[in-house]
């Protein structure tokens, strides 16, 4: 059987890409291999580890749980774009400052998930951070520093708001 393919149009980090891909190719692999966004990390390839988390039409999604053909017409944002945005930049800086990573494999997914949490819940408890990030595995840190970094980012944002107000 020849490999069934379709052409899809993806807007990635505000730039449109038209690619012809095998139907069975995960969005994560298209982003990495066809389009060069290697900040999308592929860990478990079956939706457990969260390393491949991206934003599709504004909502965090595991890009290994979406086939490229399903994402035709979608707007996708990866860590390459998000880490430069104000809503995420402080998180990235705090992750670095707090040593909230060791090997860094989980970090793109962790940052994108944490940014979504803080958008929904600007003042989370540690338990809420742990519950929200329960879909993102880290095999190095033991999570303590990651939760610290998210809490500190939240506190920093509240302080910044307070100063302005």
């Amino acid at each position: 059987m020849s490999e069934p393919r379709q052409s899809v149009s993806l807007t990635v980090n505000e730039e449109r890409h038209d690619v012809t891909v095998p139907n069975r190719k995960h969005l994560a692999d298209i982003l990495r291999e066809d389009l060069g966004f290697t900040g999308v990390h592929v860990g478990c390839e079956h939706g457990v580890c969260g390393a491949c988390t991206v934003r599709i039409d504004g909502a965090i999604t595991r890009s290994c749980l979406v086939f490229g053909v399903q994402a035709d017409g979608a707007e996708i944002e990866t860590i390459e774009y998000l880490s430069a945005q104000s809503e995420t930049r402080d998180l990235v800086d705090t992750f670095v400052a707090e040593n909230a990573l060791q090997c860094g494999f989980c970090t793109p997914g962790m940052v994108i998930s944490a940014a979504a949490l803080l958008a929904e819940t600007p003042d989370p408890t540690r338990e809420e951070v742990r519950a929200y990030l329960s879909g993102n595995y880290c095999r190095c840190t033991g999570y303590q520093a990651i939760v610290d970094a998210v809490m500190m980012t939240a506190a920093g944002r509240r302080a910044a708001k307070g100063e302005r107000a």
């Binding site: 095998p22 995960h26 939706g47 965090i60 999604t61 749980l65 329960s134």
Partner: protein, 288 residues
Amino acid sequence: MKPYPFEYTRVSSLEEAVTLLQREDEPRIIAGGQSLVPILAMRLAAPSRLIDIGGLSALRGIERRGDVLRIGALARHAEVMASAEVAEAVPLLARAISHVAHPAVRNRGTFGGSVCLADPAAELPAVCTALGATFEVFGSDGLRTIPAREFFLDIYETALAPDEILVAAQLPVACPKERFGFEEIARRHGDFAIVGLAVRARMEGTLFAELDLCFFGASPRPVLAQNAARAVIGQELTDETQQAAVSALTADLDPQEDAQADAEMRLHLAGVLLKRRLAEIAGKERQQ
């Protein structure tokens, strides 16, 4: 882990989907894909064609219709979780939904997808069974309904015919005298439960007038523990009735062994959940 090759069609109507279901050798419906994509990645299934119903807007939406809340098959878990209608009309579902998967999965996973996968450890089939929900399904003979309590047959097996598609679920709106309970035990928040329990009860004073106890992860399908319920119905919750209900679970459940727990541990945990939830429901009633 990459799937076998497959053909792919994004359909624009239910009729088109049904025609493809009838014509293909081994078709699979895909909606959110949050369970199906891993199944394909692990090559546990090798469909000839994926029929993507994700674009069918008629299958979206959450809407109150008199005594039922109608949830479209394509309603995403995140929508259910954020819905004020769900919180008000079906409090049991509102309690259960935060246990369904992780945020990134809830953004894409659908109500209908969870129901149709029929994972015995999933929350939504148990909630539908506990509440006595009704499913609307569409096939070559048009629309029909299937009671949730007749829908889940076995592990990953449902009463859907091969050419039928789930369209919506109708969940009964809660009455003032009803009480609900929900709890599950999982190793990681958002994972499938080792054992879980969804409860609907109607109280008359301190007496349990009606009681539906639906266990999940404790049998090859969501199961109403009728013997346990009978041990409590018409009575107050006492140490004796509670113990009688727990003992009756042996006859109600058929726990299986897997990597997470053996059958004995599942039965024990089911008893723990039953005691806690009955106490909560009885306690709430006493406070009023």
